[in-house]
């Protein structure tokens, strides 16, 4: 067998095993398990006590907006940290670049503010 085909074979075997494994697990499970659906079974398990309300308890929507904006702006810090550690090396060039970057981020914040998302209702 040529090298060319053997390389493909590795891939095919690997893919085949992956598909087989997942298929076997899922298929075996659905074969073995009895399927008697009652509405009781769909209920969330809460240590034997009947659950109260929905599985997904709700928190107020305004937390969501703030949390989301925090995540978005917080993650942008991954670009600021490398720059901050090598501040002198990047000199004016880096300063200008970072100013542009932060300015664009600030535009996003500005938009959110004007849209009234930052007001605690």
């Amino acid at each position: 067998m040529s090298d060319y085909l053997r390389n493909w074979l590795t891939l095919v075997v690997f893919g085949g095993v992956a598909v087989l494994l997942v298929g076997a697990f899922l298929g075996l499970g659905s074969l073995v398990r009895p399927s008697r659906q009652t509405s009781q079974k769909a209920v969330v398990y809460e240590s034997g006590v009947d659950p109260q309300g929905d599985m997904w308890s709700q928190s107020n929507i305004r937390y969501y907006v703030f949390a989301l904006m925090f995540v978005l702006f917080d993650v942008e810090a991954v670009f600021i940290f490398p720059w901050a550690t090598r501040l002198e090396v990047y000199d004016v060039f880096g300063l200008v670049e970072m100013a542009i970057f932060i300015f664009i981020l600030a535009l996003g914040l500005f938009y959110a503010w004007r849209k009234g998302l930052l007001r605690w209702i």
Partner: protein, 99 residues
């Protein structure tokens, strides 16, 4: 330390993520599974960069983190929008369009 260990970990995470996307019906959990795949990619990138003695992979991982955050923001907002209209985030109920 061998490169293969990292690659196996990453492949396992990738497989778990794919399984989650395919098998989960809850929108938020599907989103989490996608994040899992992205993190599998990050492990790959950083491992390759570390073993290849270069930076490109690590820089790429930073970009992936930022893009993943943006994706989560958009995705959660969409799931929220749907929840307001539907009172459910069960993806199997998204069936208005059939052809």
């Amino acid at each position: 330390m061998y490169l293969n260990q990292f690659l196996l970990l990453s492949a396992a995470l990738f497989a778990i993520g794919v399984y989650g996307v395919l098998a989960r019906r809850n929108g938020v959990l599907v989103l989490m599974s996608i994040e899992l795949i992205l993190n599998a990619v990050n492990i790959n990138l950083v491992a390759f960069a570390a073993f290849g003695n270069q930076l490109a992979g690590e820089v790429f991982a930073l970009f992936v983190i930022a893009v993943a955050a943006a994706e989560v923001g958009v995705g959660l907002a969409m799931i929220l929008l749907l929840y307001r209209n539907r009172k459910s985030i069960d993806l199997t109920q998204i069936d208005l369009m059939r052809g």
